[in-house]
Amino acid sequence: MEAELVKIIAIGFIMGVGTLGPAIAIGLIGSKSAEAVGRNPEAAPKIQTAMILAIAFAEAIAIYGLVITLILKFVA
């Protein structure tokens, strides 16, 4: 298998598997924070801030995979 083919397969694999974890994580974070707001609507601003922070952390993991993919495609 030549290098070009392996690169393309690697790009697809990284994006496919690498976004699985963060997607599940963001879904869990969203559902838990919606539940928390439903139980205590007064604390909604605090919960929202914490939720946005946690979602940014989880999304950063997906971005790591995206950066590797972009490097593979456009630089190497």
């Binding site: 601003p45 605090k46 946005i52 922070l53 940014a56 999304e59 950063a60 995206l66 950066v67």
Partner: protein, 249 residues
């Protein structure tokens, strides 16, 4: 596609210091923020005009958001300059990168292979890893310096070098590694989001230039604001963790 490159292209150099297109646009963002600040300062009145009112509302919102994390208004006012600067600089840079002409107007360049490509004159500053890396280093250094200033050198170093027991020593080493990883995580979050957005906009514009880029431009607007917000909020949370008294385990 020859126009997409991870490195910001160098336009010219001033005595061996390369000036890239991302550096140029970040200087433009700097100029805009400075002019805005100077105009506000010289026109400050007791009965505020429109611009001053809007700025006061925005500052009040940022201060109350920081209050919910730090606890007291006095602490918020101490750390407001750093947090608000990071937020405003990143947001202005991200939004300036969406203007028409940025990334499209440039110089023609013929590489060795005979392939002619375009070097844009202006490019979104956050799509250059150096910009994000510099801000991340400043952020993490400021967190540690603030912690040292408030708690004292001994107390701050004891977070990382703790000889009371083998487990605590190991945890101290892990904390130090976590600080270094924070630099990487900060920079790659900002760089990855903005660079990926740029690549996305370029490809959508190539596929279908009419009407279809609109929702993606809205997405980029939103992402630019959110990434600036996340960067400053994370810095704020780390400062609040470094500044409060270290509770006994």
């Amino acid at each position: 596609m020859s126009e997409i490159s991870i490195r910001a292209e160098e336009l010219f150099s001033i005595a061996h210091w390369p000036i890239t297109n991302a550096l140029l646009l970040s200087c433009v963002a700097l100029g805009i923020l400075i002019i805005f600040a100077v105009v506000l300062r010289t026109r400050m009145k007791m009965i505020p005009g429109k611009l001053q009112s809007i700025t006061e509302i925005v500052l009040e919102e940022i201060l109350s958001l920081m209050d919910s994390v730090l606890g007291t208004r006095r602490l918020s006012e101490t750390y407001l300059p750093l947090i608000a600067t990071i937020f405003l600089f990143i947001m202005t840079s991200n939004w300036l990168g969406l203007l028409p002409g940025v990334g499209t107007i440039g110089l023609k360049h013929v590489s060795e292979g005979g392939v002619s490509s375009l070097i844009p004159l202006l490019r979104s500053p956050s799509s250059d890893l150096n910009f994000a890396l510099a801000l991340a280093v400043i952020s993490v250094l400021s967190v540690n310096i603030f912690g040292t200033l408030v708690l004292g050198i001994k107390s701050h170093i004891s977070k990382y070098l703790n000889f009371s027991s083998p487990i605590n020593f190991f945890i101290g080493i892990l904390e130090f590694i976590a600080e270094c990883v924070k630099i990487v995580s900060f920079s790659f979050r900002l760089f990855g989001n903005v660079f990926a957005g740029e690549v996305l906009l370029t490809i959508i514009a190539v596929l279908s230039p009419y009407l279809l880029p609109l929702p993606f431009l809205f997405l980029e607007l939103f992402v630019g604001f959110i990434q600036a917000f996340i960067f400053s909020m994370l810095t704020l949370v780390f400062i609040s963790m470094a500044v409060q008294e270290h509770e006994a385990h």
